[in-house]
Symmetry: C2
Subunit: 114 residues, 2 copies
DNA sequence: TCCATGATTCTGCGATATTCGAAATGAGAG
DNA sequence: CTCTCATTTCGAATATCGCAGAATCATGGA
């Protein structure tokens, strides 16, 4: 991940409406959510949501596929991971203990129900 | 971490100059870096950097302490971790395997030299 | 006290972002 | 083909951000 890609991704997420949409999509997993249903759940006009989804999509954070009359959006988890990695990658330069909390939350993430 | 705090933090990081400054500070660890030296390393005017550091500081991502005539900035790792956690926390709602890469990079982070 | 140094605040203007009504596009049904 | 639903694109008003020159504040030394 390069600096400019990271800035683009962070800019895309640095907006309440887009961040809410992104988090809904994160929860939805690979199945994704249709643009119209997303607009209904977030209570925003379809055209406003559409431009915001375009920004997230241009940043590489989400992707879209057409299913009949609907367009389904879903998260590009690889890109999301790369962005998080970019923010984390130098965190051990200072002292190792700094990123221990990060390790713990990541471990808890994959083992939420064990 | 609430939504608005997250948006504030992401907005603060969604700027090339601020992101570069933040990453330098992340590498510097708890010792931090003086504002003047940061401005020299980043090759930006001191007043421009100062306002950008104020934005990062207001977002809770960094803190400052005075040391003689210099002001030392350093990362607030707890807040940084909280922000990353906010982005990760729902990633297992869909399927567990999604966040496996996140676990791996977090594990590698704390064990870079093993 | 007076000066030098480091850092911040003030200020103004140009650039960019956000929003949503209206119009256009794409896709299936009859 | 036409109608309708779902979504996107256009356009223009409004708001916000980013930058750097100049002035101001804070600290330490002579």
């Amino acid at each position: 991940m390069e600096m400019k890609n990271a800035v683009t991704g962070l800019s895309a997420l640095a907006h309440e409406g887009r961040l809410k949409a992104f988090r809904l999509l994160v929860r939805a997993g690979h199945d994704g959510i249709a643009a119209g249903e997303l607009a209904r759940r977030l209570e925003v006009p379809p055209n406003t949501l559409s431009s915001n989804l375009a920004i997230l999509s241009h940043a590489g954070l989400i992707e879209s596929r057409r299913a009949g009359k609907s367009v389904i959006y879903s998260v590009q988890y690889a890109h999301m991971t790369a962005l998080l990695q970019f923010l984390m990658e130098d965190c051990c330069g200072g002292s190792t203990e700094i990123c221990t909390p990060l390790r713990e939350l990541a471990l808890a993430c994959g083992a939420a129900d064990t």
